[in-house]
Amino acid sequence: MNVLFYISGAVAIISALMVVTRGSAMHALVNLIVSFLAIACAFWTLGAPFAAALQIVVYAGAIMVLFVFAVMILNIGNEPRRRGGLSAWIVPTILAAVLLVEFLLAVSSGPRAPAGGVVGPVAVGMSLFATYAIGVEIASVLLLAGLVAAFHFGVIPGRLEDRDG
């Protein structure tokens, strides 16, 4: 179980380095997704399966979709000289394959908990909605503020008037 943590940590570091060194935003995004998946694997080996699931669902799912759409709207992903064909995708593919092999090894070894013990979703939920209930309220206010601000900044003035008129 320990070696799985180190493998996923190495994958996370390599793909994070690829993110900050890539020229094309789309290639960096693919590497960033692999990095988040590797961090999720690290969470799982640390005995935090709920955090691992959230990392995949929220980070690698929702936030990355936002990034992909933003990159497509900004049209910065397709510089012609950066279009390297297969070579740009080979490294994230290899890293993701390493994560897949790791996952298959973990599954095939049976339902074995990480050595450090598991803090399951039930304990997290009890703590979240009992001890940290005020934090949940503040987080909801923050998300509402983020929603309002994103809508305010996202609307280009001039286009809204066309729609209204």
């Binding site: 994070a16 900050v20 935090a48 990392q55 050595a115």
Partner: protein, 106 residues
Amino acid sequence: MGSIPTSHALMLAAVLFLIGTIGVLARRNLVFVLMSIEIMLSAAGLAFVAAGSKWHQPDGQVAFIFILVVAAAEVAIGLSLILRINHYFRSVDSDEVSLLREESDT
């Protein structure tokens, strides 16, 4: 086969945070800056989860959930700001948008 040493998990978090910092400092493209900030937030969450797993308490994962909320709000506002900047300046280069307002536009 003992449990993973907390220091190793914290070291991984520190390295990831450092990579994100380098990305924020070195890249001029605002989208890359935002992606590097995501790496940094993720590394901070990893540190929290590692600390929570050391003492077998759920508090680390609760703090990670709050970091997740902050990251979601931050990326939504940041990307909408970048779209707005791209609309005004036709560029997402942070050197070209060092002014909050175009000088010719008033």
